[in-house]
Amino acid sequence: MRRRVGRVGGRFVPLGVVVMVALPVLTGWHYATQGWRDHHTGYPPVPSGYTAIVNTFGQPCNANAHAVWMSVRLADTGLYKTVWFHKKLGGMATEMLSGKGGSSTNLDNDVFGHIKNNHLTQYVKTDVGSYACRAMRSGSAWSTHAWGIAIDVSWLYEPNNQCYSTTNYNFAPIFQSHGWTWGLAWCDPMHFQYATNY
């Protein structure tokens, strides 16, 4: 009986060794080559309408609206642009990103992580911006930028009132699958916002 167990166990020893060696090697290879994995951690509910936005993210222009930053490379110029956004939409430490005091992995680790991982950064072009304590263009309602819950991408190529997309369509589905609404619906293809009905 003892011999039989030993024989069976002996068969699994090489397999165990292979797993023990292969797992860290594969994990190491993944981070070395891909350099990233998504987390989907700490996402706030996507608010619908003004009141829900305030309930979720606070008043416009509050200190949390520009508490977290990330650096974005613009493919057409090679320049890096720093954008500031709401602390509930990013800034959480992950394997590849240092913590910036945020409470989720949404925008910096996950959305832009997917864009990088899918080799779509070539479509992120001049210019990029997020937080701004301003009204909507030609309006007197607060822009979603005033909460740091909107980001304009490639605005030189995707101007306001253009009802089609020339570059952002390449990665728009990534934003949309992470809770973001694309402004193309109202002919603002540069604009992505983490809110609906606003």
């Binding site: 309408g49 911006g129 009204a135 909507m136 306001n160 109202w186 604009h191």
Partner: protein
């Protein structure tokens, strides 16, 4: 043999069609050109059109022009993305502004602020968007048209600054 060739051609055509559909998805999706939903929602609060009459203010100035038409045209050319940038205001709407912008500058592209932090934040935004920006003032508002006042953070960090600062704080602007 013919059946195999037909199936092969069918698969090839299907693949080409699929790739074409994927490559063009997202293009040409015409939406309403009218603007985002908030512009048409009467329940959305509007930023008060406060002209800060009598207050000492700082202005971020993007240019000065002899006519309003020239100022409007220049403002349309300045891209702040989808947010409101400068407002076109008469130079005489602010005491001390005409001396700064010069004699021909009857109309000015400006945005008004109560704090230096607010003015600097907007100026940085403009410069990062390759739009000219110069902080001038303090000037005194004579009650002209709305020039963007209130679009800056309250020093408390709780929301926008929608009230006048104390005379002492206004004097500290310079």
């Amino acid at each position: 043999m013919r059946r195999i060739i037909a199936i092969g051609i069918g698969l090839l055509l299907g693949a080409v069609l699929g790739v074409t559909v994927l490559a063009t998805s997202g293009r040409g999706e015409a939406g309403s050109p009218a603007g985002p939903p908030a512009l048409f929602d009467p329940s959305v609060p509007q930023i008060p059109a406060d002209n800060g009459v009598g207050e000492r203010l700082l202005l971020v100035v993007g240019g000065a022009f002899s006519t309003q038409a020239q100022a409007d045209a220049a403002n349309d050319e300045m891209s702040f993305g989808d947010i409101q940038g400068y407002y076109v205001v008469p130079a005489d709407a602010f005491l001390g502004l005409r001396q700064v912008v010069g004699g021909d500058g009857n109309f000015v592209l400006a945005s008004a602020f109560r704090t230096r932090d607010g003015a600097q934040e907007f100026a940085s935004l403009a410069i990062s968007a390759s739009v000219p920006a110069r902080i001038v003032g303090p000037v005194v508002s004579l009650g002209g048209p709305y020039a963007g006042l209130g679009q800056e953070s309250d020093p408390s960090g709780q929301g926008p600054l929608l009230h006048a600062l104390s005379p002492e704080e206004q004097a500290a602007l310079g």
